[in-house]
């Protein structure tokens, strides 16, 4: 995974995309890479996961070896106009912003191409060795939007009858399609909706895009603590005589202990069902990241998750 130049993380809202992007950045640094993390659809949450305050469009160092930026299509447009079309930077933001919003609604792919274009620009710079990073990690849009984002160069190529961008889509598509360069990872949790969206997304990516898929990262996996025999034993322990015997040895609170075990067993069982559905429908490598009971979001938790991810990747 870390030998690529562009790693994207997508998935249903709230499953852990930002967390995995941040964890992958830490892993990459541990393996000697310099990383640029791009937060698309920015909630501004990612830098905090690396222990840093929110950042803007201009990349800032947020952790040793990691710079981060928040995508902003308007800024990206300005940059594009300046660099590619030699259009002087338009002074007044007001009308431009409003007109931009308007036309972006009308033209599918304008916002998307500005997003993916900027990202691929940075990827190309990494390959050429002219950038301060070796690897670009994208905290991408959620499942609903990521296909149109990654597919923007393709749709623009089909749409645009003229213009410099049409010719530019060629190198973009080339980078995006190269398995040695690009990898799209899908983050999910062992729950009904995230699994359903993952299955649907993988199918769509395969049929509509040429972007290589990497792994499905199954996040918030509950540990398998107990065997079936244990479960039966726990239920037996609820009998009055048994619970008295245990209380005598273990002290008060036996009922809570058994309730806790039952919840763990039932949740795990419900999730196992969804995992089975995922395994049956998707033939990509699955990486499992355990549920973190004890940590709160922040650098420490990201470090723990990076470790788990590294182990799953065999790093």
């Amino acid at each position: 995974m870390l030998d690529r130049r562009l790693l994207c993380f997508t998935g249903k809202g709230g499953v852990g995309k930002s967390t995995m992007a941040a964890a992958a950045a830490l892993l990459a640094v541990q393996h000697g890479k310099r990383v640029l993390v791009v937060e698309v659809d920015a909630k501004g949450a990612l830098p905090a996961l690396l222990g840093h305050a929110p950042v803007g469009y201009r990349p800032e160092t947020v952790a040793p070896g990691v710079r981060a930026m928040a995508m902003d299509t308007e800024q990206s447009l300005r940059e594009y106009l300046r660099l590619n079309l030699r259009v002087p930077v338009v002074g007044r933001i007001g009308p431009l912003a409003r007109a931009f919003d308007f036309v972006a609604t009308a033209a599918p792919g304008v916002k998307e191409i500005l997003t993916i274009g900027k990202i691929l620009w940075e990827v190309r710079a990494a390959i050429d060795g002219t950038a301060d990073h070796d690897l670009v990690i994208v905290d991408a849009a959620a499942t609903g939007h990521v296909v149109s984002q990654l597919g923007a160069p393709q749709s623009i190529r089909e749409l645009a009858d003229v213009g410099p961008l049409r010719s530019q889509t060629e190198w973009m598509i080339e980078l995006l399609s190269d398995p040695a360069i690009t990898e799209l990872n899908v983050v999910t949790t062992p729950e009904e909706m995230p699994v359903a969206e993952t299955i649907e997304l993988v199918a769509r990516v395969r049929s509509e895009l040429s972007v290589p898929l990497g792994s499905v990262i199954v996040n918030r996996v509950l540990p398998e603590l107990f065997t079936r025999a244990d479960e039966a034993a726990f239920e037996a322990m609820r009998a009055p005589a048994a619970s008295e015997w245990i209380a005598a040895r273990a002290g008060a609170g036996t009922a809570e202990v058994l309730d806790g075990a039952r919840l763990a067993v039932e949740l795990r069982r419900a999730r196992a069902e969804h995992l089975d559905a995922l395994r049956a429908a998707v033939d990509l490598p699955l990486l499992y990241v355990p549920y973190q009971f004890t940590a709160t979001p922040g650098l420490r938790m990201t470090t723990v998750i990076a470790e788990a991810l590294g182990e799953e990747l065999g790093l």
Binding site: V103, A250, D259, F293
Partner: protein
């Protein structure tokens, strides 16, 4: 307790994945059981829940659910109750709106076939949110229902729903829009330098087809604007009517709670109020022994022993429960004094059939 006795419309809001669809369905079931003629508008429900609600086929008109499926076992449900459900179909709702306000069939077809229309009428840019509100209005006019429960789309921000009608109006107000209403290409002469540069650039980037589509759309739209504006006004009024309740759903996680508080604040600014806060999927407390204490006990049993695992497991859940309670504390003041707050525990199974919907409803303590 959530008092919805005088309410005609209930809107379930919240950030993604917190349980809006589940809550909306549970409230509608409970209302029907209490004798109301209830309808629930769901948005992208999980497949098994959709099956339960009879929404297997894409059904964006309300269809009735057989009462024997949802009536309480104890036979306590008043016979007046009925339950309908539907699944929002953004595109066909928008199409119907266009057909309704078009002067004639020809105008409707010109719009429905336009490229720009096809883009805005898809799930892009808040259209789904607006169409949910529009659906609400449709059902309100329908007259068959005395309680309409509406789910909202899985937006990043709960606010998107509130802002949707305004955004549609802003689109119509846009200066560029007015420029584009001028005869073909005349806009290029009158537009300011910045806008001109921009439009030309866009044309160079994505082709002139796009610009032509936009112009074509607005020309076709001519004459319908007033109708749309009026309709958006109606929808907005319905949303702000005192008989409309906003039910805010959140999880016990800090990020979801921040979003809930932010949303409540915005509702307050618009002189709308939060009728209830639902904190969903809260881990049970499992007693009051400290996680640290439990871990000490676990160690005493010897690492890896069954009893140690049991106590470690309990310590983990106790720790999550404590963190959730810390995150939730203060939320009552965050969403406004006196807003009733109910907690729904994390169930050990998904909520996709009537018994489990009733189980959720039981914890909602709603009265109709």
């Amino acid at each position: 307790m959530i008092d919805l006795a005088d309410r005609h419309i209930v809107i379930c809001c919240g950030t993604g994945g917190v349980g809006k669809t589940t809550t909306a369905a549970a409230l509608a079931v409970e209302a029907a059981r209490a004798g109301r003629r209830a309808v629930v508008v769901t948005i992208d429900p999980a497949k098994r829940l959709a099956d339960t609600l009879g929404l297997a086929a894409l059904s964006d008109t309300a269809s009735e659910i057989d009462p024997t499926l949802w009536r309480a076992d104890d036979g306590d449900s008043p016979a007046t109750g009925s339950l309908h459900a539907l699944m929002l179909d953004t595109k066909s709702t928008f199409d119907r709106l266009v057909t309704r306000y078009a002067g004639d069939e020809e105008q409707a077809q010109r719009i429905l076939g336009n490229g720009f229309y096809r883009n805005v009428s898809g799930a892009l840019g808040g259209t789904q949110e607006y169409m949910a509100a529009e659906k609400l209005h449709e059902l309100h006019e329908d007259g068959r229902f005395d309680l309409i429960v509406v789910d909202t789309p899985p937006s990043r921000h709960a606010l998107d729903f509130l802002d949707a009608p305004a955004r549609l109006l802003r689109l119509l107000d846009n200066r560029v829009f007015r420029l584009l209403m001028m005869p073909t290409r005349a806009y290029l002469r009158v537009a300011s330098v910045a806008v001109q540069t921009f439009l030309r650039t866009v044309a160079r980037v994505v082709g002139t087809q796009v610009i032509d589509d936009v112009v074509g759309f607005f020309q076709a739209f001519e004459g319908m604007e007033a109708g749309f504006r009026e309709r958006a006004g109606h929808v907005q009024r319905l949303i702000s009517d005192p008989s409309t309740a906003f039910v805010l759903v959140t999880s016990a996680r800090r990020d979801a709670i921040d979003e809930a508080e932010f949303f409540a604040h915005r509702l307050d600014e618009s002189s709308l109020g939060v009728s209830a806060l639902i904190v969903n999927r809260v881990h049970p407390e499992f007693g009051d022994e400290s996680p640290e204490g439990l871990r000490v006990r676990a160690r005493a049993f010897g690492a890896g022993s069954r009893l140690a695992l049991l106590y470690e497991n309990l310590a983990d859940y106790r720790q999550v429960a404590d963190r959730e309670r810390a995150a939730v504390s203060g939320v009552a003041t965050g969403v406004g004094e006196g807003v009733p707050t109910v907690w729904v525990p994390l169930l050990d199974h998904d909520v996709h059939d009537f018994p489990s919907l009733a189980e959720v409803a039981h914890h909602l303590h709603a009265c109709f």
